[in-house]
């Protein structure tokens, strides 16, 4: 990542090529996300950028998990471009952050995905191994 990052996106930690932390804020007024900052964790495999990074929201005392019909309460994100089938190696940390920021900006539903409770309780797979169904193009 070179030069200036877009508004609302701050690189927090990038000490190595394994794990990066980036904070994301929604800039445009959207009542769901006012005054909150979300923290993304990027985990890169040795095959990055040929393979997608694993990207999840992480929760701590000052960073909640944003409400969104495609974001589970454990931080796992269902987004086609993070999946093997939707990934392109010309994506990068910045473009992924911008996509997630705009996914939040345009969202009007303050809700979790269907089956969030069960998914969060029983899922043992890593995000990259989950077969998401990308059925909903409206949000």
């Amino acid at each position: 990542m070179q030069g200036k990052l877009p508004d609302g996106i701050t690189l927090i930690q990038a000490d190595n090529y394994e794990t990066w932390l980036v904070d994301v804020k929604v800039i445009d007024p959207n009542p769901i996300y006012q005054n909150e900052t979300y923290r993304l964790k990027f985990t890169f495999s040795g095959q990055y950028p040929i393979e997608p990074p694993e990207v999840t929201f992480v929760r701590d005392a000052t960073h909640p998990i944003p409400y969104h019909p495609h974001i589970y309460s454990n931080g796992i994100i269902c987004l086609d471009l993070l999946d093997r089938q939707g990934w392109s190696p010309v994506h990068n940390v910045e473009s992924v952050c911008v996509s997630l920021q705009s996914m939040l900006t345009s969202n009007t539903k303050k809700e979790r995905p269907e089956g969030d409770d069960n998914f969060v309780r029983y899922n043992t797979q890593r995000p990259r191994d989950i077969n998401f169904m990308f059925h909903d193009d409206t949000v």
């Binding site: 040795g46 392109s88 190696p89 010309v90």
Partner: protein
């Protein structure tokens, strides 16, 4: 007056015929530099121009095209990636020279 040259040293620089500030979209290194695996730029780590006019280090685009999920499409425009130049090898008929840390297909 006659000058006798006893010795001379020539220094030459080369670069690919590409815009100055451009980087390979996959490895983000300048085109004039190497892919992320090679040590020396030049013929050993050439560029490949697609029919869609998107170019990459040959090793970078080959790593991508070898992935099943690439469906042999250009990472930029998702059109089928075909090499534009006549003499350049294509992904179909030549394995890349180097295949580090990936298992053979």
């Amino acid at each position: 007056m006659k000058v006798t040259i006893r010795e001379w040293n020539a220094v030459a620089a080369w670069r690919w015929d590409m815009p100055d500030d451009d980087v390979c979209g996959i490895c983000r290194n300048p085109y004039d530099s190497t892919c992320s695996k090679c040590k020396f730029p030049g013929d050993e780590c050439p560029l490949l121009l697609g029919e869609c006019n998107h170019s990459f280090h040959m090793h970078c685009i080959f790593s991508w095209l070898r992935q099943e999920s690439s469906q042999e499409k250009c990472p930029m425009c998702r059109q089928p990636f075909k090499s534009k130049s006549q003499d350049a090898p294509t992904a179909e008929n030549q394995q890349p020279a180097r295949e580090p840390d990936t298992s053979p297909l």
